[in-house]
């Protein structure tokens, strides 16, 4: 059951901006809250509006050219980075004075602060107008109590377009694009998939949600596309090793002191079937290439070996696809227009000794169909 609503939406509040939050409250002809609660202004409610009126005013509208999260501000509603910049540049004001002015800081005071910040940054960068100091990772925590959650960068529109161009126009492989741009392979695939739909919408004249996209992108931190490969900032870690469940337990593995105990041996010690780190990372080809470079091979040979590896991978994938296609082709299909029947060989023994095995085909006498039973969940588990 949802928690019960405490606030009545028709409570008249002396604060002017109550109207902004609930503009139509005074016009509502009914209230669902009990009479005894109406008209009661609790301390919490009063404090909330007080906060919204003072420090909280900064969060009403987005901060132009920056993200606007709670952790970027201190308790007085001043941007931390602005304060830090001011501390470095002008240390004339005493700390007492500063806190006194901070306590007064409302929206107007904030604009003063940012003006000062602009001056500071102007000194640093040499005349860049209306620019805040660049935000740090600490400024991107939306939840002040949660020190481990950050609002991570999203790909800018230009970056997405570039990824799409590389895959669809230049014909690069997903692996290659991922390794050169620093974007996870799954993300590369998703970007292309979504971009294709966007282009289809454009060509069919379906309106895009442009104002929404522009507003949201301006509120989020972004990884911008840089055409120079050296100056390019990687979007995310692309070679991450998923922690396997078998490796979460500490084990005692007695072995000789002289043994050359590698990562592969360690994997075997954890689980017989566990592959080593080098095989479980998404980009093993990057490690192989790095090994070639470290071995001092000439650049042409390194490139040649890399392309050979890529060809081998493509061939293996093709073989696998062929195998699947062959399997599919073996199934006889009869299309009746209403339904496509797939006819394949079935063994009676699949049903098991008692005839109730899960791999058995068809309805069997004495085995109830569970799907009509009470409490059976019918939500699909996959959509193809």
């Amino acid at each position: 059951m949802p928690p019960s609503m405490r606030w009545s939406s028709v409570i008249p509040s002396p604060q002017a901006f109550t109207k902004q939050i609930c503009p139509n409250a005074h016009l509502r002809a009914f209230s669902s809250s009990p009479r005894s609660n109406a008209g009661r202004t609790t301390r919490q409610r009063r404090l909330m509006f007080q906060w919204l009126d003072s420090q909280g005013a900064a969060f009403r509208d987005p901060l132009p050219g920056s993200t606007n999260y709670l952790s970027a501000y201190d308790n007085h509603g001043v941007l931390r980075r602005v304060k830090a910049g001011r501390g470095n540049n002008t240390s004339s004001r005493s700390a007492d004075e500063q806190t006194a002015s901070d306590e007064l800081s409302t929206l107007g005071a904030k604009s003063n602060e940012s003006e000062e910040a602009d001056e500071a940054s102007n000194k640093k960068t040499g005349g860049d107008e209306n620019r805040l100091p660049p935000e740090g990772r600490g400024d991107r925590r939306p939840f002040p109590h949660n020190k481990s959650f950050f609002s991570e960068e999203v790909l800018s529109e230009e970056f997405r377009e570039e990824i799409w161009r590389r895959i669809m126009k230049d014909g690069m492989s997903v692996r290659e694009v991922s390794a050169t741009t620093g974007v996870e392979m799954r993300r590369v695939g998703a970007v292309v998939r979504l971009k294709e739909i966007e282009k289809a919408w454009l060509s069919s004249g379906t309106p895009l949600a442009r104002p929404y996209a522009q507003a949201v992108m301006s509120m989020l931190p972004q990884t911008q596309w840089n055409s120079a490969p050296d100056a390019r900032k990687w979007h995310e870690q692309i070679n991450s090793l998923p922690v396997h469940e078998a490796t979460t337990l500490q084990i005692f593995e007695p072995t000789s002191e002289s043994r050359h105990f590698t990562r592969e041996d360690a994997a075997k010690a954890f689980d017989e079937n566990l592959l080593s780190t080098d095989e479980r990372i998404p980009h093993p080809e990057m490690v192989a290439k790095e090994k070639d470079v470290l071995a001092g091979l000439p650049a042409e040979l390194v490139a040649e070996r890399a392309s050979a590896r890529e060809d081998a991978e493509i061939e293996a994938k093709q073989k696998q696809q062929d195998r699947i296609a062959k399997k599919q082709a073996a199934i006889k299909k009869v299309d009746t227009g209403r339904w496509q029947f797939r006819i394949q060989e079935v063994k009676v023994d699949d049903a098991g000794a008692d005839g109730r095995g899960p791999r058995g085909t068809g309805w069997r006498y004495g085995t109830p169909l569970m799907d009509r039973k009470r409490g059976q969940i019918k939500i699909p588990t996959r959509v193809d």
Partner: protein
């Protein structure tokens, strides 16, 4: 969580679980969540390519099994000096299974302003998974699933609300539109009846003139051709309707009302577009395409161009002059056409349209920026209001992907509460 005196561990766990559940999936029954809960916490560790290439891991097992006292300097640098920053906040992953739910994912992708609203969108059939309608908010997304939300719903959920006056005008407008639609439908019905009657009469004549077989073959051929064209015509009709709708929005715009002259121009445009739409059934699809292109270019001239667009136009002209020889004429025309379409769309979004359920021109809701973030396990395209669920959320050194306002200690207590029952 500092332990207050007189509070048992059990009480602490209860408190932690109830506070965290008030944020994480409060729309779900407790039993349901207990079934979803998994004690397995996913994590990922970034690997350094250079380190993997240089060492096979034996340096960590050298000596008596835990590495030599004096290790190679690089290995030391890469693995051990930043041991402190290698702490993985596992406890923040307590509510990770909740993030797999479709309603939560829609909320996290910023397509709804709360998980409850997202749930409503799903139930109302506004959300598709892999292109198919998915009415179950409890659908657990699989890695690679794409979900998309109706853009109008997203604009409503994230846009500023209308004021009372706008709501009233909108209601009046809706009533008028419904009335007009009803009248038009009736007129069409009457026309349809007239047409079929005329056709029947014609067929009767033809039957008399031609042999039965020949007529059948001709009808069959005609039908097949129609089938091929039908879909194309449908798309074309949609395009024209879109243009007509935009023109009507511009005529109605109350904020910057068009001048009398422009209104006349817009109305005549609507009339000509409707004529094209009415007569398209008898025409070649290619011919209709040409007519639509003409309509778009003529309409783009009618839309008010903001000063920014003017500057962009000038810039584009300069660019064009530089690369004039390279550009193929056909491509240029296509670009020009696209630009016209963009201008039309821009004009539509800048206009005040009281028929929408949100304040127009669209602007984001208050206090949206403080909560605007997109977790890394989603890839979102805001233009089409669609997103892909890439993978399950994971914890990484010093960062966890599950968005939660609670600290690690509170989440740890909640985790141990649910662990108790398995």
């Amino acid at each position: 969580m500092s332990r207050p005196s007189g509070v048992t561990h059990y009480q602490q766990k209860w408190k932690a679980k109830s506070t965290t559940r008030a944020y994480h999936g409060e729309q779900i029954r407790e039993k349901h969540w207990q079934r979803m809960f998994r004690s397995r916490l996913r994590a990922e560790i970034p690997m350094d390519t250079n380190y993997l290439a240089r060492y096979d891991g034996s340096e960590l097992a050298a000596g008596r099994g835990s590495g030599r006292e004096m290790r190679p300097k690089d290995a030391l640098d890469l693995r051990t000096t930043n041991k402190k920053s290698f702490r993985i906040p596992y406890m923040h992953m307590t509510y990770a299974p909740m993030e797999r739910r479709l309603d939560t994912a829609v909320f996290r992708a910023l397509f709804a302003s709360s998980a409850r609203q997202a749930r409503q969108f799903v139930i109302h059939g506004k959300v598709k998974v892999n292109g198919k309608k998915m009415p179950y908010p409890g659908y657990m997304l699989n890695p690679g699933d794409m979900f998309s939300v109706d853009p109008e719903s997203v604009l409503f959920a994230t846009g500023a609300p209308k004021d009372q006056e706008a709501i009233r005008i909108g209601r009046r407008l809706k009533r008028v539109q419904q009335h007009e639609a009803r009248q038009e439908a009736e007129a069409q019905k009457a026309a349809e009846i007239r047409r079929t009657k005329a056709l029947e009469a014609k067929h009767a004549q033809e039957e008399e003139e031609n042999s039965q077989q020949e007529a059948d073959a001709a009808a069959l051929k005609q039908e097949r051709e129609n089938l091929d064209e039908a879909q194309l015509k449908k798309v074309q009709r949609k395009q024209i309707n879109e243009l007509v709708e935009t023109a009507q929005v511009l005529i109605r715009d109350t904020q910057n009302e068009p001048s009398a002259k422009r209104k006349v121009e817009l109305r005549s445009f609507v009339k000509s577009a409707k004529t094209v739409s009415n007569k398209m059934q008898r025409k070649d699809p290619e011919q209709v395409d040409k007519e639509i292109e003409e309509l778009v270019t003529s309409f783009a001239k009618l839309t008010p161009s903001p000063p920014q667009a003017e500057a962009a136009k000038r810039e584009a002209k300069a660019l064009k002059a530089a690369a004039e020889e390279k550009e193929v004429l056909d491509a240029e025309f296509k670009k020009e056409y696209q630009k016209s379409l963009d201008a039309i769309m821009q004009a539509r979004y800048a206009a005040t349209d009281e028929s929408k359920p949100y304040a127009t021109p669209w602007r984001p809701r208050n206090y949206m920026s403080a909560f605007a973030f997109i977790p890394q396990y989603l890839e979102v395209n805001q233009n089409i209001c669609a997103a892909v669920y890439l993978r399950h959320p994971v914890a990484k050194p010093n960062a966890a992907e599950v968005p939660s306002p609670f600290g690690e200690d509170v989440q740890q207590l909640a985790f141990s509460w649910y662990l108790r029952r398995r």
